[in-house]
Amino acid sequence: MVPTNYYIILSAILFGLGVFAFVFKRNIITIFMSIELMLNAVNLAFVAFSRALGKLDGQVFVLFVIVVAAAEAAVGLGIIILIARNRQSLNVERVDLLKL
């Protein structure tokens, strides 16, 4: 029987790593992956709490998160493909048309 807060700490660590990657990676695709990593960390926390509280809501919510992540991936990757087509670069720092 693994204590719940082990899971929570693990998810926190994963989330922190995700944030780090989110900020410090340059490649759009990798950044997108880091977002997925954060989502996964949150999912882990959900399931852990769902077990701790003996309720299934957490798992159901995880399913929703997964669905949303799938939709997000579809659209996001489409956008990434467009960016790569138009800018010939996947480096976010090269995609700065919004600069003043």
Binding site: V19, I31, V92, V95, D96, L98
Partner: protein, 660 residues
């Protein structure tokens, strides 16, 4: 089916013209003139018919005050202003005058305006005026009356500026509107004062209060609540009825089409002031001062306007000043407490002054738009009907027996003579009568006699169509017989008109100071004096303008100062311009516009805008366009949220959220 259907549904009488106005205003643009005619004449004629029926029912129900509250319009605290209409003898007179004369003038207009642009617009405005005027006369409380009051002001503004392409016309409209505002300001103050004092503005309750509240009649020189209220109301009346010092708008109002001048600026609207004074006679009779002021103002206006009228050459201007002076007569009557006489003169004046204007319109029509009398002359042969009717009207206004004007003016002069200390008023009134007859006959002689002073090859004088002459004839008949109801008074009999109005004015009429016989003799004498004065005026006019045509110029030269002064209307407009308009203009330009508006308001607005722009310039550097920087911003946001939700605790309990 109630016993008195129209009385029960009194609102239908004002409603019909409103419907007509709406219909014409909304759809008339597309319609041919014929349909517009049908709508306008139909609505007004119907309302005239209903008015007659209402009057019949009123008599049928025994001439008791009929009052009905249809719905509550404003209810605030203990203040209630309802859509209440009432019907009494005074209302009967006014309503019949408005609807009847109004209808005739509508008919006339179909001929007069036939070739004008904006035909439907004209009739839409005219019907609108009818609606508001009927509201005014039928209203059972000051608030509703004020609605009609303002409404007719609006209609008059619209119609004076009917030819809005002419600058003079639109200016005249604005002038009328603004000058009226001054009066309305007083009127509203009066209403507020009344409500504050008596907590009601309903006529019957207000006028019954005098028993309950036990008003003290305020003697001369005492300025109590009533006096103030009366003076304020009278201020409004001055504005609407063109009395000193607010008469200046009426002569300019002649810029409007002639039927408008006839209906609004002669027959009905300008008499609203008189009507209001008469309606609130209860208040006035309780205030000596107010009555005196009314009398003096009326008298002064009458004489003053008459003098100006002597030298005017524009035919409509002459009539305009005569209107002002006749209104002065009416106020004089009210001032001396002879309200019935005032209303009587109001009615007869409505007949013959409307007739005069319409006839003048016919003349102008015949002359192809020429209004200057010096370019007319010798028209009597060419346009007989117009000439005949206009002559009748002139005789009526100058007060030759047995025409309408004779009786009404006689009654006024009599009551002016009778009140203590009224002789000066009487003298001036008499003098005014003389002047009146002089300038009226001057008008007649210049227009219809002597040699033509216009280019006959250019102008083809022609008689107007019957749609215009018909109303003239009808009005002529009325101007003749209009006064006979009061005729028996001369024969020592009764003044049926006064008796008819007695229920309204009750005991407030100035009571006879002399015995019956003496009064009779006095009446005859005064009548004789008045007629002789009129004759004198006629004589002078004949001597000056027919027998010795060169005389007027010499006269004008010999007393140039007076002449020019009169010609320039005593420089009143210039005086107002210098004393009021220019300073106001200067203040609004330099203080309100240049300083307050530009400096303060715009300054504030622009200042805010500039400040925000500056802030934006500063902040916009955070918009680096670099996604990674934005990512860092996201992180910062997350930190803030966590800090707030988890660590911002007060007394151990989290301020936001219910975590732990």
């Amino acid at each position: 089916m109630p016993a008195h259907p129209i009385l029960e549904y009194l609102w239908i009488i004002p409603l019909l013209p409103l419907l007509g106005s709406a219909t014409n205003g909304l759809f008339g643009a597309k319609w041919p003139n014929k349909i517009v005619n049908w709508v306008a004449l139909g609505s007004t004629g119907l309302s005239f018919a209903f008015a007659l029926e209402a009057v019949r029912e009123f008599f049928d129900s025994g001439q008791v005050l009929f009052r009905k509250e249809f719905f509550t319009w404003i209810a605030a605290g203990n203040f209630r202003a309802g859509f209440d209409l009432q019907m009494d003898q005074l209302t009967v007179v006014m309503m019949l005058v408005v609807t009847g004369v109004g209808w005739l003038i509508h008919i006339y207009s179909t001929g007069y305006m036939a070739h004008e642009g904006g035909y439907y617009r004209f009739f839409s405005y005219l019907n609108l005026f009818m609606f508001f005027m009927l509201i005014l006369v039928l209203a059972a409380n000051y608030v509703l009356l004020f609605v009609g009051w303002e409404g007719v002001g609006l209609a008059s503004y619209l119609l004076i500026g009917f030819y809005f392409l002419r600058k003079s016309a639109s200016d005249a409209g604005k002038k009328a509107f603004i000058v009226n505002r001054i009066g309305d300001f007083g009127f509203m103050l009066g209403m507020f004062l009344l409500f504050r004092t008596f907590h009601t503005l309903d006529f019957n309750t207000l006028f019954d209060l005098k028993h309950a509240a036990g008003w003290q009649a305020e003697p001369w020189g005492q300025f109590g609540t009533l006096t103030i209220a009366c003076l304020l109301l009278f201020m409004g009346a001055c504005g609407k009825s063109a009395q000193l010092p607010l008469y200046v708008w009426l002569p300019d109002a002649m810029e409007g089409p002639t039927p408008v001048s006839a209906l609004i600026h002669a027959a009905t609207m300008v008499t609203a002031g008189v009507y209001v004074v008469a309606r609130s006679h209860v208040l006035f009779t309780h205030s000596e001062t107010a009555l005196v002021v009314v009398a003096i103002v009326g008298c002064a206006t009458a004489f003053f306007a008459a003098t100006i009228g002597l030298v005017q050459t524009d035919i409509k201007k002459v009539l305009a000043y005569s209107t002002v002076s006749q209104l002065g007569y009416m106020f004089l009557a009210c001032g001396v407490g002879a309200f019935s006489a005032g209303i009587f003169h109001l009615m007869t004046h409505a007949f013959f002054k409307a007739l005069l204007f319409l006839a003048a319109g016919s003349v102008i029509h015949a002359m192809g738009g020429e209004q200057d009398m010096q370019k007319m002359g010798g028209l009597s042969k060419k346009i007989k009907y117009t000439y005949a009717t206009m002559l009748i009207a002139t005789l009526a206004i100058t007060g030759f027996p047995p025409l309408a004007g004779f009786f009404s003016k006689d009654a006024i002069l009599l009551s002016a003579f009778q009140i203590p200390g009224g002789h000066p008023l009487y003298i001036i009134g008499l003098l005014t009568a003389l002047l009146t007859s002089f300038y009226m006959f001057r008008l007649i002689f210049l227009t219809f006699y002597g040699k033509p002073r216009y280019d006959e090859r250019k102008v083809h004088v022609h008689e107007s169509p019957w749609s215009m002459l018909g109303p003239l004839v009808v009005l002529a008949v009325l101007s003749i017989v209009g006064g006979w109801v009061a005729a028996p008074a001369l024969g020592g009999g009764r003044d049926y008109f006064a008796d008819f109005l007695a229920p309204v004015f009750g005991g407030h009429e100035s009571t006879e100071v002399l015995g019956e016989a003496a009064a009779h003799n006095l009446e005859l004498t005064l009548a004789f004096v008045a007629v002789s004065a009129a004759l004198a005026g006629l004589g002078i006019a004949y001597w000056l303008y027919l027998s010795r045509p060169s005389k007027p110029e010499e006269l004008a030269k010999s007393m140039k100062g007076v002449y020019t002064t009169l010609l320039n209307k005593y420089y009143v407009d210039e005086l107002y311009a210098a004393a009021i308009v220019r300073p106001l203009l200067w203040i609004s330009t330099n203080v309100f516009w240049k300083t307050v508006d530009v400096g303060a308001i715009d300054g504030a607005v622009n200042g805010v805008a500039d400040g925000l722009t500056a802030v934006g310039d500063g902040v916009r550097h955070t918009q680096s366009g670099n996604t990674r920087s934005y990512a860092v911003w996201v992180v910062i946001g997350a930190i803030v949220i966590i800090a707030v939700v988890f660590f911002w605790t007060s007394a151990g309990k989290p301020v936001v959220g219910m975590v732990r």
